[in-house]
Amino acid sequence: MGEEEAKEEKAKPKEEFKLSFDYFNESRLGIFALIIGALIAIFPGLPAFIEGIGMIIVFAWGADSVRKTARYGLGTGVPSIGVLAVGFGIVGGIAGIAIASTHFGTLVVGGVEIAFGVLAGVALLALLGFVSGNLANGDKFIDMKIPGLERGMTELGIAGTLAVLIETSILAGTYHITKVLPNVVNNGLIAAIFILSAFGMLQPYNTCLGADERRGRTLLMSIEIGGIASIILGIAATLTLSAVEGVPLIVLGAVVWVAYYRAYMKACMEEAYATPGTGLIKTLGG
C-alpha cells in the first residue's frame, strides 16, 4: 500500500504541473539563455523591462548550473559556487564595460548602440571559468571528482558576467564609462548587483536541495528571485535614469514575483507528503 501511494504521489505533479521545463533540458536552457543573454547584453539601450526578462533567463541558467555542480556535494556549501560565479562576473563585467567604452568596442548604427566589446569580457570569463573548473576537477590539482564541473564553472563564469552586464545596462542605459561610473559603480549599486545576482543563482538550489529535489521546482524559485531583483533594480533605475525606465520594470517584477511565488508554493504543496500550516504566512489553500 505504501509503495503504491508513493508512486501515485510521484507521478501526480508532472501531469498537473502546467509550466514544465522538460523541453528546456540543461543544454537547451544553456544555449537559449546564452543567445538571449548575449543579444540583450549587446544592446544596452533597450527598454529596462526587456533587459529585466533577459536577466531572469540568465538567472535561471545560472541556478541550473549551480544545481548541476552542487548536487554532488562541494564540501563548502552551495552558496560558495554562486558567489564564485558573481566574483568572476564582476571582474568580467568591469573588463567588458572597459572594452565597450573604447571607440572600437561600440558601434552606433542609426542611433542604436551595439556594444560588441562586452562579449570580449564574456569570452575572457568563459576561459577563466574553464581553467578554474579544470583546476578544481583535475586529478593533479584539487581533484574534486564532480562530473561536469568544468562545464558548470564555464557556464557560471558566462552567466555571472552576463547578469552583471545586463543589470549594469538596466541602471545606466549604456556601457559608456562616463555614465556607468556615477550611475552604477561609484554610488555603490554595484554591491547590490553583486548580491542580487548571487542570490538569483545560489538561493534556488540552496533552498530546495534534498533527496526529492526536482529541477522544475528549483527553477521556479530562480524566476521568482528574478522578479524580486527586477523590483529592486526598477526602484534603483527610477532614481538613476527615469520613471519611464523604472516603473515598467517594477510592474514586470511584481507580476513575475506573485505568479511564480504562487506556482512554487503550489508545486511544494502538491509534491509534499503533508503540509501543516503554522498560520504565520498565509499559504495558498494549505
Partner: protein, 241 residues
C-alpha cells in the same frame, strides 16, 4: 607604461596567492562546529574570509584617502591587514565566549594531541567521538595570521588599482574588482580544503597547501591579465566622478 602594467600584474598575483594562503590558515568548523563537535568557527571558509577581507578593504580605503595623490602601497596594505586581523580576532573571541559559557565546552584541538604553542595536552578535554571544540590557542594564532595574510593580499590588490601612479581606477571600481579577485581565489582555496580545517598545525594544511597555492597562482594570473586588458583600454583610468 609596460613596467606599470607588469607591476600591477605582479601585485595582483601576490595578493591572490596571499588570500589563498589566508583561507588555508582559518579555523573553519562548518556545520559540525555549530553543534560544538568540531574545532573552529561555525561557518564556511568563504563567509569568514570575505567578512575579514571586506573589513580589511574598509580600513585600507580609509587609510588610502589620507594621501591626496600616490598613497604609500606598503602602509595601505598593512592597514588592510590590521583591519582583517581585528575582524578575525573579534570573531574568534566571541565564538569562544559562546562555546565556553553558552555551550559549556573547553576549547581544544581535535587533530593534535599537544598544542604546539602552549605545549598543553588536548586529548583529555576532547569529548569522545567529537573532533575538538571551540578555538584553542594555536587555532587562534593561526586565524590571526590568516587575517594578516588575507587583509594584506586584498588591500595590496586594492591599492595598486586605486593608486594614481599605477592603475588609477575610481575608489569603488578598485574596491569591487579587488573583492572579485579575492573571492575567486578564496573559493578555489575553500574547495581545496574541502570542509573543515583547524589552522597551520592541521595535517591537512601540510598535505594540501602546495596544490592550493598553485591553483591560486594560475587563477590570479588569469584575473590579472583580464584586469591589465581593462587597464590597456584606458577607459577606466582617471576615475571619472
Amino acid at each position: 607604461m609596460i613596467e606599470t602594467l607588469l607591476l600591477v600584474l605582479v601585485c595582483i598575483i601576490i595578493g591572490g596567492i596571499l588570500s589563498s594562503l589566508a583561507v588555508h590558515l582559518m579555523p573553519v568548523g562548518g556545520a559540525p562546529a555549530a553543534m560544538a563537535t568540531a574545532t573552529g568557527i561555525a561557518t564556511g571558509c568563504v563567509m569568514l574570509m570575505t567578512g575579514a577581507a571586506v573589513t580589511g578593504l574598509f580600513t585600507a580605503s580609509t587609510v588610502a584617502s589620507f594621501w591626496a595623490t600616490n598613497p604609500s602601497v606598503i602602509l595601505v596594505a598593512l592597514s588592510g591587514a590590521v583591519g582583517a586581523m581585528l575582524m578575525m580576532g573579534f570573531t574568534m573571541f566571541v565564538a569562544n565566549l559562546i562555546y565556553i559559557f553558552g555551550a559549556g565546552v573547553v576549547p581544544c584541538s581535535g587533530r593534535v594531541a599537544v598544542d604546539p604553542i602552549t605545549r598543553e595536552s588536548q586529548t583529555e578535554y576532547k569529548t569522545p567521538r567529537t573532533d575538538g571544540h571551540g578555538v584553542p590557542t594555536v587555532s587562534y594564532v593561526s586565524g590571526i595570521l590568516g587575517g594578516f595574510s588575507g587583509g594584506f593580499g586584498g588591500a595590496l590588490i586594492y591599492v595598486v588599482l586605486v593608486s594614481d601612479s599605477y592603475a588609477h581606477f575610481s575608489v569603488a571600481t578598485a574596491g569591487i574588482v579587488a573583492m572579485g579577485i579575492f573571492i575567486a581565489n578564496a573559493i578555489i582555496a575553500a574547495y581545496n580544503i574541502g570542509g573543515t580545517i583547524e589552522g597551520f598545525h592541521d595535517p591537512k594544511f601540510k598535505a594540501r597547501i602546495r596544490t592550493g597555492l598553485t591553483c591560486a597562482l594560475i587563477v590570479s594570473v588569469l584575473c590579472g591579465v583580464i584586469v591589465v586588458i581593462a587597464m590597456l583600454t584606458g577607459t577606466l583610468v582617471g576615475g571619472v566622478m
